[in-house]
């Protein structure tokens, strides 16, 4: 608008319009009232943006700072693991599973072989069951800790990030002691584990369990009653229980809405019904309740880990069937029978019966399902499908974020605890 100087005089300045309303002295010059621009703004977040926790791209339509619409774009990390799996034998697929959720790789390793074992009717040893429970609960903490650190930093709290990553480092070391790798663990095999727990590993775990609750308490003190944190999370991204079920939310995201669905309780596997733990339930289904649920879940996991360590039986870790488990290296080198089994397992693999199997476990992000389909005698799957918890959880983000501010979108996205490696697969 160009500037115009108006000659102003007191007398006669209050000119009446035809409708009896006093007109501004500017009116005779026909300068329009400044219009508020109602055009909606388009904002692109990602795919390279630290707050999207990966290569997620969100295109937002904004009215001022309010989100009218969010369109998520995914697939930047798509590697077609499911297709690759069709070209690999049952055991070779294990290495693909930890590359999906690299924040809790052992849960994925375990869930995959559990579904294959179920399809083949293999009953693993008692020791193996308890070891897998230990590994899965350990990685639940592992996954939740990453969520805790990154979510806190998204809303400006830097200290919990450092605390949680210090604790994660200890779990990394446990991973490394067990498998030789920190992230790409590939610890499981059909019928057992790659290796039994090394000597002293449980002491390392105990050491971690001693220190971890104290760190958790400190983070708890920093965040739970923190007015800034509460202001950023309470009432943000709320969803009712019924709608959450309909949207397919699982894991802590669903439980925060007050639905007590936990695969460990509702479809128990590996004797979870005999462990003493409670499933934390939220009330409001907002970001704050999701935070509380995850915090409490970590404490419950610590309890389960103690119970599992107490009941860990001795005995073999792998099933005795030589057509499933590899013989020891010594046997393979000295005993003809074992050498043949070794050769057959490596070159051909384990034949599966015809059928399909869907096996769900409670992953750190939600219900992690592994669906395998085979035909008679197949050493490779016809179809291997991961029911990705983050993928389904993320699909609700548009519904959760609409009507909130852009900064709330960041919080909502963080509170869903997604991992793009598994969403894009």
């Amino acid at each position: 608008m160009s500037t115009k100087t108006v000659e102003f005089s007191l007398s006669g300045s209050r000119e009446m319009g035809p409708d009896g309303i006093a007109r501004s002295p500017l009116a005779p010059f026909d300068i329009p009232e400044p219009k508020i621009d109602t055009e909606r703004m388009l904002i692109n977040i990602g795919p390279q943006h630290p707050a999207t926790h990966g290569v997620l791209r969100l295109v937002c339509e904004l009215d001022g700072e309010t989100i009218v619409k969010v369109v998520p774009h995914i697939g930047y990390l798509h590697s077609s693991f499911e297709k690759l799996g069709e070209y690999r034998t049952w055991n070779q697929i294990v290495t693909l599973t930890d590359r999906m959720d690299y924040l809790a790789p052992l849960i994925y390793n375990c869930a995959y072989v559990m579904s294959v074992e179920k399809l083949m009717g293999i009953e693993v040893t008692e020791r193996c069951k308890v070891v897998r429970v230990i590994l899965m609960e350990l990685d639940r903490i592992f996954g939740h800790l990453l969520w805790l650190g990154t979510t806190a930093i998204d809303v400006g709290a830097f200290t919990p990030f450092l605390y949680s990553f210090q604790e994660r480092e200890k779990i990394y070391q446990l991973h490394e002691a067990l498998t030789g790798a920190r992230i790409t663990t590939s610890a499981t095999r059909v019928g057992g584990m790659m290796a039994d727990l090394p000597t002293g590993w449980l002491d390392g775990l105990l050491d971690f369990l001693d220190g971890f609750p104290k760190t958790l308490d400190e983070v708890d003190r920093l965040l739970t009653g923190n007015q800034i944190h509460i202001g950023r999370t309470q009432g943000v991204g709320a969803i009712s229980g019924e709608e959450a079920i309909n949207c397919g939310l699982t894991g802590p995201n669903l439980r925060a809405s007050g639905v007590p669905y936990d695969v460990r309780k509702d479809r128990p596997y590996y004797d979870y019904e005999t462990y003493d733990f409670t499933v934390p339930i939220g009330e409001h289904g907002d970001c704050y309740d999701r935070y509380l649920c995850r915090m409490q879940e970590m404490r419950e996991s610590v309890g389960i880990l103690h119970q599992a360590m107490a009941r860990l039986p001795d005995g073999p870790i792998n099933v005795a069937d030589p057509k499933i488990s590899l013989p020891s290296k010594t046997d393979a080198m000295s005993d003809m029978e074992s050498m043949i089994h070794h050769f057959k397992l490596i070159t051909h693999g384990i034949p599966a019966p015809e059928g399909d199997c869907y096996y769900a476990v409670e992953g750190s992000k939600g219900e992690l399902g592994m669906y395998v389909v085979a035909e008679e005698g197949d050493a490779k799957p016809v179809r291997w499908r991961i029911r990705p918890p983050s993928f389904v959880n993320l699909s609700t983000i548009a519904r959760l974020a609409e009507g909130h501010m852009v900064s709330d979108l960041i919080m909502i996205n963080a509170s869903l605890d997604i991992v793009l490696g598994e969403i894009d697969r």
Binding site: N44, V71, G121, D266, D321, E367, G369, R387, S395
Partner: protein, 236 residues
């Protein structure tokens, strides 16, 4: 198939195939439908639409149904108070190849009755279409898009029917189909050429917000002759 070899030496000579492969333990059976109330009810009520049923992997019930009535049956399973499958855990596809039908698989769970059920709908290759269920379960929205993207199954009535993992203008088909070669249909050189020729600006336009593929891309895709898009079509 031979019994387990005494010496094992023969097996080496016979090579790595199924000569002495372990007899697969058959953990599947036709089962007794009265064990699973929903299966019994389906047989009772939709007997003509139930193609077959089976128990796989020990205790997992699978029911094959007529795809033309899938929506009706799935909707009934969701709403009937005896069943209430309120959670659609997963929607996915299975392609066996060799001309066999592509199957759409629904994993359902009832949080009220703590029961799981798997429904499979075989779709013949010349009619890869099925009704959408994403108005019944919102969780099916992205899952159906993924099945469309990777298997080429069209979901009638889906509100946002476009690819999800692959780019909107992906021209090589549907990757999880068995006739899709592992490396894709185009040569690496052609894939690189196309990637470099992409208009990256297009991905930042406002029409991204609209549902569906933008008009000009649709026109481009329609005009593109398919045969030249698959110069090195190989086996699986």
């Amino acid at each position: 198939m031979a019994e387990h070899d005494e010496s094992g030496l023969e097996a080496v000579e016979q090579g790595p195939l199924t000569a002495d492969a372990r007899e697969p333990r058959n953990v599947a059976s036709t089962g007794d439908p009265s064990d699973h109330p929903s299966v019994a009810a389906l047989l009772d009520r939709f007997g003509d639409a139930v193609l077959r049923h089976r128990v796989n992997a020990g205790d997992q019930w699978v029911v094959w149904i007529d795809p033309s009535r899938s929506r009706e049956i799935l909707g009934w399973l969701k709403d009937d108070s005896e069943h209430v499958y309120d959670m659609m855990s997963d929607v996915t596809g299975v392609d066996y190849g060799r001309g066999r039908p592509v199957e759409v698989v629904y994993q359902m769970f009832s949080t009220r009755h703590k029961r799981a059920l798997r429904i499979r709908c075989p779709l013949p290759l010349d009619a890869l279409e099925i009704d959408t269920i994403c108005d019944l379960w919102q969780s099916a929205n992205w899952l159906e898009r993924e099945v469309f993207d990777l298997f080429g199954v069209t979901f009638r009535g889906h509100p946002d029917h476009r690819r999800i993992l692959m780019p909107d203008d992906y021209a090589e088909g549907h990757p999880l189909r068995k006739d899709f070669p592992l490396r894709g249909r185009l040569s690496r050189a052609e894939q690189t050429r196309r990637a470099l020729a992409q208009e990256v600006e297009r991905y930042y336009l406002a029409d991204d917000l609209g549902h569906g593929v933008p008009q000009e891309v649709q026109a481009k895709l329609a005009s593109q002759a398919r045969p030249d898009a698959r110069p090195d079509e190989g086996g699986t």
